[in-house]
Point group: C2
Chain length 343, copies 2
């Protein structure tokens, strides 16, 4: 029996926040139809506007990571880096951030102070200011310590025109560094797994890497995105769908740390589905690929950047990996939520 | 015994979110010192930036109102109006909003759909779009249904230069309509008080009223603000502190509905401390005051606008009300949090 409410969402599940298929269903099925307007149709968490002839990018991101603090970072640094990175992969130089805090009664002043300091430090490192914000308090137990939402505004680099519609067959897929560090770090930090390993979140501002990429390859830069929730696989599936072409990844070319690979094997997860907080994927015209890679290798934190695949005509709207033995497999978007509240 | 940790915040209390003294202490004592920068020093939830010569205003606001739905509105409409109003009282015409949702697992799809529709309707009424956003999901019980943070960006009216430093003795205090409707509506909607009354939240976009004010009195407009959390008293105290002058309010001139006055008497509250979500206070040069008032009276929803007081030289940095019997009393900022989670 078909019914118009076939895709109706009965209730919100954790998977609706995982960044994969359920999130897309929530956003496409319920949110964007109601809010429909020309800018929103891109479904992106950043939006491009033109203000008196200047192209600006704006972005909004909520952070609910658990635990608040983890090896390599904390909710405060994540909230700043995440927003800077959304702007960076939109081709925009951040000019200001704003931040809205939802705190729960009983949160220790020390924890709050530490997270504000983490935000300040992340801003100072990236050369950007928080220019305003808001603070709300809810009852104890109603915000798991604290949630942070950050907004960013940036000026778009005039050299760039990014978009899925720019992709051509033969374009190369460039990844800034190893995948899965953030997601696995959070997982281990929760102590739910009886595993200990030397691993840190990759949370960082991508601006220096994106600057180097633009300086070396701006005319050949087609598209950028940071593979956070849902990982590289989800972001590439969204791109494949948007451009209608095939994205073929060489499995062996994707940098993955042993710890991440090991944890994924134990859990039955694919490292391509694990969240990153300090990496980007760029699609680059083939004639600029080597220059772009060399430029990233020359920047601190870009040493492990790699060309991991290319755009092909078919199969349409599909992401494939080619294994070391020459076989191929289809890589789907993230389904379900193996790692809730990762950011 | 003096100690440097005298003002240290041991833990977050509900009062830190009430918009009064405790909020100011939290923001001035802990947040702004760490994030210090020239734009943030104004402590406002909106910030003015200059982008390639164009003055833009940005604002961020979190919404945690309880219950989600109340007479006259809901969290969705509130989240849109609140952000539009922050821009309006900054003298800015909104050009785009963004919205970040924090949903809890188990929230019914119907409730979410209803709130998204409320946001869409509020946007349509105000002629502004939500151009992007973000959706996160936390475990059941961790977000009391849903929280919404909205971010707005607007272009500042070139005719306006607003700021506490512009105030002169003799300037008039203009209020757009009756005070306390929103706060008392929320209080009654919670059913904690054994009171029933015909009252609705005043949640609405202030843009039409502010437009009329600017058209009639732009050269004489010194300052505007919407008295939300902490009410008229808190906003005027902040202004008095910032300008160093006295603000003298004629108690009888302040429009207050009987229901609000009655509820306040029962609860021992001052209507000047109750939150509003659809009112503004403007400081206007005396020679423009009558034109401004007439202009507001001519706009739908502005019929009850009133001139409620004036700026005087002394006592410095103080808000006074003059009673109908000729006495005066000092009106302080809100202390504590009589009505938590009002917005």
């Amino acid at each position: 029996m078909l019914s118009s409410s076939k895709h109706r969402i009965e209730q919100i599940e954790m998977a609706h926040g995982a960044g994969g298929k359920a999130t897309r269903r929530l956003i496409e099925g319920l949110i964007t139809p109601a809010l429909a307007n020309p800018v929103l149709e891109s479904l992106s968490d950043s939006a491009l506007l033109t203000v008196e002839g200047t192209r600006i990018a704006t972005t909004a991101d909520g952070f609910v990571v658990k635990p608040l603090r983890f090896p390599g970072g904390s909710i405060g640094s994540l909230a700043v880096h995440g927003t800077i990175n959304d702007l960076a992969v939109s081709g925009a130089r951040p000019i200001a951030l704003m931040s809205a805090l939802i705190l729960e009664a009983g949160l220790s002043g020390e924890v709050l102070e530490r997270e504000i300091a983490a935000m300040a430090q992340a801003c100072a490192n990236a050369g950007v200011h928080i220019v305003g914000g808001d603070t709300k308090v809810v009852e104890h137990g109603m915000a798991d310590g604290m949630y942070i939402t950050t907004f960013g505004i940036g000026i778009v680099d005039e050299r760039l025109t990014l978009g899925a519609q720019n992709l051509r067959c033969g374009d190369r897929v460039l990844l800034s560094g190893p995948v899965g560090d953030h997601g696995i770090t959070i997982l281990l930090a929760r102590g739910e797994l009886d595993l200990e390993a030397e691993i840190e979140s990759d949370t960082r501002a991508l601006t220096p890497l994106v600057d180097a990429l633009c300086a070396s390859a701006a005319p050949g830069l087609r598209w950028m995105r940071d593979p956070t929730r849902g990982g590289v696989a989800t972001v590439l599936n969204e791109l494949a769908r948007d451009c209608g072409m095939a994205i073929v990844i060489e499995e062996e070319a994707v940098p993955v740390r042993d710890v991440v690979r090991g944890a994924c094997e134990i859990l039955g997860l694919d490292p391509l589905h694990i969240a990153n907080e300090g990496q980007f994927i760029a699609i680059v015209a083939p004639e600029y690929a080597d220059a772009a890679l060399s430029a990233l290798h020359a920047v601190a934190g870009g040493e492990e950047a790699a060309l991991i695949g290319e755009i092909q005509a078919s199969p349409p709207a599909t992401v494939l990996t080619r294994t070391r033995y020459g076989g191929t497999r289809i890589v789907d978007m993230l389904v379900g939520d193996p790692l809730p509240r990762i950011c």
